[in-house]
Symmetry: C3
Subunit: 99 residues, 3 copies
């Protein structure tokens, strides 16, 4: 993957949208989002993409910290927790399936 932080953030958020959609949920129903950046210098660029993606009034609690990721080509990883809706619901979203 050779996308920069803008492209990778867009890809990751699109993955989250898709995963949520597969279980009948959507981004307005995420409770928390944990964002990891290997380089905190990417924070501002990541944040501009995030701000365009999030629905005002329905933003999840978010924490962004710097951490080395399993795959050195990744510039971002997001672990989000959906609101669960009882027994039939499973809609967690990790942007990076193998890590």
């Amino acid at each position: 993957m050779t996308l920069d932080i803008i492209g990778q953030t867009q890809d990751v958020l699109a993955s989250i949208d898709r995963l949520l959609g597969e279980v009948g949920s959507d981004k307005t129903k995420i409770l928390t989002a944990q964002i990891f950046l290997p380089d905190m210098a990417d924070f501002a660029a990541m944040n501009t993409v995030w701000e365009r993606w999030v629905v005002p009034g329905h933003a999840p609690a978010r924490a962004t910290v710097e951490a080395k990721l399993a795959n050195p080509s990744y510039r971002i990883e997001i672990l989000s927790s959906p609101r669960s809706r009882g027994p039939p619901c499973r809609a967690p979203s990790s942007s990076r399936s193998p890590s």
Copy 2:
């Protein structure tokens, strides 16, 4: 912000209480708490404040790790996941809204 780790931890936990209160929840209903410290040397002081705050028998699962935060003046960040209560509930708590 010039508070030390004691003061910042108190502030962060007060924010979580307030956010939970706004949605009719409270600290006995948190499932998980992810704590990030830029300097693990702050662990013991953070923990004394945490121990006074938590309700025995209702402590969330907690993990504390060292990680650089987005804002260099922050000495602690907590991302907590509330127990969800079905469709009307949204009560996640991040201690640091812009990060």
Copy 3:
């Protein structure tokens, strides 16, 4: 604790199983798992244990990042979020209770 990454991962996952069992849940009902490794070189070994443990089709969203842990003898920490099941349910799992 002198277990290597294989042994520690097995221990941690056994703890999660036990904690979930105590509240009438199990590993097929975890939504997210946040894995922290002080040394990302342990990733492959950790992953082999994880792959044997997880139930196909019921794997939680997972993110693995490198971070220093509170206890220097720990080689892994996992914070997992169970699916909540309404008011009587509390089944979060942290592999490391004091951190």
